[in-house]
Symmetry: D2
Subunit: 390 residues, 4 copies
């Protein structure tokens, strides 16, 4: 008989009024009723933080004015009342200090991507996590789609043979104009090196592209060649990048990340070509996976069917033809993290080799990717090596 599972107590840093991604994280955590929002420091401005917490019905005692207060406050509570995990949904520059402090204090962490600003920070954080033995999930949310899990399964079980070519693109248009000068909060911090880091589009969405390819194929980048551009006059960080990629073993790839592709909403597409077949997936049409084998009719695999692999089926349980979407995928990351947290706390074990959520290793590799792309963009050399972990 199934044991009733308690809802995990979640604290959130960032994600107050007007923030887009904080609300997504909350909805994602609620879909399966696996978490309750128990505490928050929802803005870097104490007044706004508290007002945001009141909107969400947080009790005053745990509606904190800053993440430092939250850390202190929660540590003062008995273990079975304090938050189990913290969600970090702030602009990028705060990921490192907040994550470091909570990991060191023994909390599980769910952190938005990209992980941190530099690979030095990333390595330090990874060491701390290893030492603490806590769960650290990075919300590369697109890996939560059932058909992404199916693609991973198929590639890894040889359905398309040896990979020869990977084409991944993530195109949007929301930064086609200089939105950051028009009072748009999202645009402001994402185009500001102090908060966003060394990269704009490359960090925000290029990192998703890198992660999706890696998650599905396991391919390792050996070197790359990038043309990185700030198309909108006066913008400091890149809003467009085109990258030639070479993978260990001879496969080649293209990665495109752009936020100035007029008319594109969230066009994240992946094509993987092996020597016997190929797979195509498109985030805006996420319930389908197109599978072509040379000389055979194209196949369209669809969400929630019995012919899918177990991980895909687990990730989408509402019957075929009832479309899943962005929230379902995001919720699957939260669900994967919840299972890992329960396991860490003595619940049923999960497969350590296939944790079914993006881990800190994904986060660390993502930071290296960003650094390498930006370096290549500035280089006159054709190929820039992708560093193995130090």
């Amino acid at each position: 008989m199934a044991t009733p599972v308690r809802r995990l107590r979640l604290g959130m840093v960032g994600g107050g009024r007007d923030a887009f991604i904080g609300s997504v994280h909350r909805h994602a955590s609620w879909i399966e009723d696996r978490y309750e929002l128990s505490a928050g420091a929802l803005s870097s401005t104490p007044e706004k933080a508290k007002a945001s917490g009141r909107d969400l019905g947080l009790p005053d005692a745990r509606n904190y004015g800053s993440w430092q207060e939250m850390l202190e406050g929660e540590l003062r509570l008995p273990r079975d009342e304090r938050i189990d995990a913290v969600s970090i949904v702030t602009p990028n520059h705060l990921h490192f200090p907040v994550a470091k402090a909570f990991v060191e204090a023994g909390f599980h962490v769910i952190c938005d991507k990209p992980l941190v600003h530099t690979s030095a920070q990333a390595d330090e954080l990874a060491s701390l996590v290893e030492k603490a033995g806590t769960v650290f999930a990075v919300t590369y949310n697109y890996t939560g789609y059932p058909m992404v899990k199916q693609a991973r399964h198929m590639v890894r079980s040889g359905a398309i043979g040896t990979i020869r070519k990977v084409i991944v693109e993530y195109n949007q248009d929301w930064l086609s104009t200089k939105l950051e000068d028009q009072g748009a909060k999202q645009a402001e911090w994402r185009t500001d090196p102090a908060r966003s880091g060394i990269a704009g589009a490359v960090g925000d969405i290029g990192s998703h592209a890198e992660n999706l390819v890696s998650t599905i194929t396991g391919l390792e980048i050996t070197e790359l060649c990038a043309d990185v551009t700030a198309m909108v006059p006066g913008r400091e960080l890149d809003d467009d990048a085109s990258i030639l990629v070479r993978y260990r073993g001879g496969a080649k790839g293209i990665m495109l990340a752009s936020q100035i592709c007029a008319g594109e909403e969230n066009a994240f597409r992946l094509r993987i070509y092996g020597d016997t077949g190929s797979l195509t997936w498109h985030q805006e049409d996420p319930n389908y996976l197109r599978y072509k084998v040379i000389g055979q009719p194209e196949q369209v695999l669809k969400r929630a069917n019995a012919y899918l692999c177990e991980a895909a089926r687990r990730a989408g349980t509402i019957p075929p033809g009832h479309p899943g979407g962005f929230l379902e995928a995001f919720a699957n990351v939260y669900k994967g993290a919840a299972l890992a947290i329960h396991a860490a706390e003595g619940g049923p074990a999960i497969d350590p080799d296939d944790p079914d959520y993006p881990t800190i290793a994904d986060g660390v590799r993502g930071v290296r990717f960003i650094e390498t792309v930006i370096a290549s963009g500035r280089s006159t050399q054709k190929w820039t090596l992708f560093p193995s972990r130090g």
Copy 2:
């Protein structure tokens, strides 16, 4: 400043272990964190009811063995502890007694469709609801999609002119074989007249088709001509129906509902042709609304864009390109009901002429539709009149 809104206390009748739709209702209620599951009578078998409640973490005291116990138990609690509303997610034959009892006791109700078995029951229930002044929502969940709301707005504001033709189809394949003989619970009760009522596919999905057309266009059926079939040998209720429809004012239509269309998952499509333009929507690809005006390029309207009407934008707040899905739409029905319940309890008023959730009037009309189609199927007359409400 936004007032924190309390989570409504929800009781659920039906929806225990192995039930499909109960789980959907729960997820839908959780997405926006507007409800908490406070009580349940989750199965008609007391042991299974209780086991299901334990799975979900219901407290023993409110994990009831039957809906009658739940009604009594909740009425014994003080008003500010007892459930605000009950969700009825049982097979059809229980809708009437459960809904009647809870409405008479003053509870708000969220009831699955079709509303009840007969129009006599429907009329009686409607009178009770009117007398009680409570909220009664019927989960015609497809009306919750943002692009359905947009279609409604466009049709009603004249974007396609005067309607001439409506083609609506809802095709599935899950009853292509005699699944009801193979231990499938869903199939068992849906093909059993005692539990499902006089109709099979016509009641289960034909009623959605009728409701979607009515919600979007406001057209009234005057007469119809149906060919109703049980294609699978030995099945008692229909699994396929094709219906010619005539609407007040001269528009004509086709309604198809089938559960034996091999290869179809949940193919619910609508096309509405006016004298100047047309709209097309497909439930399996729900984030797009195709709009054609004679002599102009086709337009594709997409979820969450600023050019949509207010109701559509409110129903899908995650940015463009982040696909919404079945759960989001279902959650919007729960959200609409929640707003209505808060309004009924003294919260902010909602527009009584446009309540943004399907009401008991939709439920009543749906039952008449089912009865008329089945009657026409048995008639040798070409046209069967659609009765106005008595």
Copy 3:
């Protein structure tokens, strides 16, 4: 070694300046260089006929002022100079007298659809053709698409099991307004009973729908129930029809034909559901055939691939990915007729049971279909029997 095949000498009746379909027939005949245009009576107005012939470079001697002159003129020429076949591309009312005269004179005929105005005419013509032993092709051109031939092959070889349901629709919008009052020749004659016959949309495009279903499935209609409408005020003939169909053996169907569906161009779609699988084809996207088997991924079969049946491969020889279109399909009808004509003249035989072009039998059945639909439209009885041939 292949014997060089001579180009057939073609005469054309109708299809002069401003006519749409005459030009299509000529292009279709030229694509494979199997015909040359040797004579013409291209309009019912002698001056326009001759001017049209001069446009096309017809020699004066064979640029006739009327079809009667053409018949006489050609019969005066020696056999090896006179036309082999005549294409009849006039408005419908002229099909019968012209076809009758040329068949009786021993010419092969390629005639546009619908064949003639009445089933009495159709039967008479069929008898004459049988007596003459000549080739008589009816340009149900959509049967010429490679993927239609593939669908026929698959249905007939059991790929979808026993057919249960057929949905065929042919929707256009070009008669959404009263175009016939605005000097549009096509619209004028197609809406005029004297020239078009008893039916409008039902004759023009409904007949294509009937023919496509019959060609692919071989199903025989036993009875039908039609709602036939002239939606545009003041129009005499139908511009919209919705038809419930029953086939011998228990399959059921829907046929829609409309010329007032705003925004539709030439939306001719077919879905065939068997008890194990289904096929979907859409004329506006003609190079794909979607094949679904219950419980398996959808398959998309594509033109010109080696996995297709022989007839499909023969009908589309340009490699995969090089889209075929309307002209290619039309040309395949002309090619089928050319092969039959060469066979009739002593060339290589063709399979008499599978002639690979629409024959007079298709034409005759099409006329019966039109008559039955119109009769049903006027009837208060639910079902109107489809007559077997007299």
Copy 4:
């Protein structure tokens, strides 16, 4: 009144039995009945040439054993009997000698792409054409699609603003295996440097990609960075290339050309992003042009509609919804060349600035493109300059 136009007399070099593209050229020339095949030297093997000519019904006297014989033979005929133009549809290495000889003899030429092996040859040929004043068309056939002409019109009239990014891809899979070792003629010569030139996929299909972008946008490449690969072991020429492109004025681009993309048939896609809107076109779905403007619903423009530009309407005259295809587009190139030839021979003038067919200037630029990509592929420098014409 329209003057009857005589059919041009066409000679063909190459394109005999088993050749793919020769047959396409012939069909394309026949569609509008503007050409007749009057002479041929259809293979480099005299016996095969003559057998092929007999298949096509060429008279013995003009069914030549070699192109040299054809040149001599035709020159011996009186002017009004000899061919007007020669189609060169041989493997690439013969383009130069044949084209040179026929141009010098005063014939019009229609030559397959890529034009010749080297830019020295290209420049020499261009000079000869200029001196001769004859028509020289290069069959970049994809420019013949109506919606390509519409895209060109829209880009040039500012519909998408200033171009920022161009993504063009041409992916196939027919060389995924070492087909050249299995007796496939096409594969043999296309992978053989002696016949194909320095490039494989880059020359065969990359050149189409370059030409399409140039035709539609007018953008000039200033420098590029290519990763050029022979993926199939043992193959000498490239079968895969990924190219970063920079255009004069700051736009950036990606060009992909691959013949090892498993499951792709002829996937030639173009996306052009301006600062206000974008256009998308896909060769396998050629009758649609997708047009997005920031903040507005996507528009889908469709072939043959009155809202298209004149060149697009001229290129597709069969009504909307009747799909055009590969042959129609190819025929439009032949039609454009025919109009130019008639103009050169004293017929109605054409617009010299917009000749509506690909000229020798396109051919010359294409050869430079191939040379630059191959040079970049071998370079360790990031950017290789694209040479302006010498």
